[in-house]
């Protein structure tokens, strides 16, 4: 897709005015990752209450795609059922962003936040919920994202 399609008003807006930017005190889930190739960094914090995403925030630095994607992801999952979050796919994220046909280098930017989220879920599921079966599946998904 062309730059004009990627850098639409909404992406630039989320890049410049990211929603849910920041940290949570004592989060249930705190996960951080960076993309070793480009140096983008991302940290996500979540609180889970009554099997729902009670709060979610992110911090990071990176390109418009990675920052907008992270911010839009937080909006997508806040208040949602935990089950919903567990099932999120690559396609859900790209649909939500309205970004398709990104090249192999840039798709990593769009998916970094989902990767961080999935690794966060993995730790939470295995350490706090002792649900190793789901945890392993999610870890597998995370490592196979790109």
């Amino acid at each position: 897709m062309s730059s004009a399609d990627i850098y639409r008003e909404i992406i630039l807006d989320y890049y410049r005015n990211p929603r849910n930017y920041g940290k949570i005190q004592n989060p249930d889930i705190a996960q951080k990752d960076s993309n070793p190739l480009c140096g983008d960094e991302l940290e996500m914090h979540l609180n889970i209450k009554d099997n729902k995403v009670a709060d979610v925030k992110f911090t990071g630095k990176g390109c418009a795609i990675s920052q907008a994607s992270a911010s839009m992801l937080t909006e997508l999952i806040i208040g949602k059922d935990f089950e919903y979050v567990k099932k999120l796919t690559k396609e859900d994220i790209l649909d939500n962003l309205g970004l398709h046909e990104l090249g192999p280098a840039r798709i990593k930017c769009a998916l970094l936040s989902l990767k961080v989220l999935k690794y966060g879920l993995y730790s939470y599921l295995s350490e706090k919920l002792k649900d190793t079966a789901s945890a392993d599946r999610i870890k597998e998904e995370a490592s196979g994202l790109y």
Partner: protein, 414 residues
């Protein structure tokens, strides 16, 4: 006069070098394949094509050339994984060759896991690449290096391994899948089974096996596995280290530099994911890409066919060689137990002299210690001559070779 299994005429057309003449007018007969093989035109063109059309550094840039180059480079990794049947592509590390692969293991795994009085077991028929790195490691750590002997049939005396394993101090057993001098195919399964029982690590030097036979790493349950592209139709400067993920993850890096890091700070650094943690600096991009085409080529023929062809040729050659008076052949004559590598000595003709004489007839063989001086000591010779075959060699070429050996005998009046 081709063997019955593969269509040599059509294969030979892909190797332009086979049309060249040496010593003015002698057609080249290339029997030095254990040292390095020739390359089909497809591989040569794949390399040119990369430089002509999409040369770029990889992994870190977002421009179109970089994306094409990265995809092609990473595609080779998938192809290698499939070729030796491993599940996880990130277990495939590109290095310069077998030698670097083994050194990577001795530096990164060895210095972490081998300690004073531990035992490293190797064999008497190893290439220097699978001896010297372990000697260096043993010297640094105070570990001991022990050798599995070679019997008169050119096979390993595996009872000796039991003795070492019983000590409870063995950390790793390292051996070549096929001897580059005797052609002996090592009984890997048996060695690995024994090692597994004692939780001992195993490195397989596959420099001479992967090019010549089917290899299945999901069956061969070793820990480290190393081979070189240039010995299997691929370019020089590329090799593969495969190792189990848990091991690669537990190992500290080998070379430090670009691409192998996650984050570099002034006083501390974190490592990249596998396999990149072990691929520091700009890799040999063009040749890794060329290697992919070499694998395609071999797969199209079929590794079972490659093996059959070489067995037929080896049998043919051994039969003729053994009829020459004064001929001393090393290694077993059971074809099923050996690859297409034949070491020999003819009377008192020194191998260098022999190689010089038959080179005049266009025949390229190797003479010397073949980077296996420990084996030379065991065989009690200074050197041997070695003829080694590959997919493009024919029985006709063997005939010319045999005639040339008779000429050498005449020149040396024996």
């Amino acid at each position: 006069m081709q063997t019955s299994v593969i269509n040599i005429e059509s294969i030979r057309k892909d190797f332009p070098i086979l049309k060249r003449k040496v010593h003015k007018d002698k057609p080249l007969i290339y029997f030095d394949n254990a040292a390095t093989t020739q390359k089909p035109i497809q591989v040569i063109e794949a390399i040119s094509n990369y430089y002509l059309n999409y040369n770029s550094n990889i992994h870190r840039a977002v421009h179109e050339l970089a994306e094409e180059a990265t995809a092609a480079y990473e595609n080779t990794r998938d192809k290698v994984a499939k070729f030796i049947n491993v599940k996880n592509r990130e277990e495939i590390v590109f290095v310069r060759g077998t030698t670097e692969a083994i050194n990577l293991v001795t530096y990164s795994w060895g210095r972490q896991n081998v300690h004073r009085d531990d035992i490293i077991v190797t064999t008497e028929y190893e290439h220097h690449s699978n001896i010297v790195p372990w000697q260096l490691l043993a010297k640094e750590t105070g570990a001991k290096l022990e050798y599995i002997g070679v019997d008169d049939n050119g096979e390993l005396i595996l009872d000796q391994l039991d003795g070492y394993l019983d000590s409870g101090r063995v950390k790793i057993v390292t051996f070549s899948h096929m001897s580059n001098v005797l052609g002996t195919i090592t009984k890997s399964d048996e060695i690995i089974r024994k090692c597994r029982k004692k939780d001992v690590r195993v490195l397989v030097d596959a420099a001479q096996s992967v090019p010549h036979m089917e290899v299945d790493l999901q069956k061969l349950d070793c820990d480290f596995f190393a081979f070189s592209a240039h010995k299997m139709l691929g370019p020089t400067g590329v090799g593969v280290l495969w190792a189990k993920k848990e091991l690669l993850e537990s190992m500290s890096p080998f070379n430090g530099g670009g691409d192998m890091i996650r984050e570099v700070h002034k006083y501390e650094t974190t490592w990249n994911d596998l396999p990149y943690k072990f691929e520091a600096g700009t890799p040999n991009i063009a040749d890794v890409i060329g290697f992919s085409t070499a694998i395609d080529y071999l797969e199209r023929i079929g590794m079972d066919k490659v093996r059959e062809h070489e067995m037929e040729l080896t049998k043919y050659a051994l039969d003729k060689l053994s009829q020459i008076k004064g001929m001393k052949l090393y290694g077993t004559n059971e074809i099923a137990k050996r690859g297409g590598v034949i070491s020999f000595n003819l009377g008192d003709i020194h191998p260098h002299d022999l190689a010089t004489i038959i080179d005049e007839d266009g025949i390229a063989i190797r003479s010397g210690h073949h980077c296996a001086q420990v084996l030379m000591e065991r065989l009690d010779v200074a050197a041997t001559s070695r003829a080694s075959f590959y997919i493009y060699n024919t029985k006709e070429e063997v005939d010319v070779f045999i005639r040339s050996l008779y000429r050498a005998k005449e020149l040396f009046r024996i």
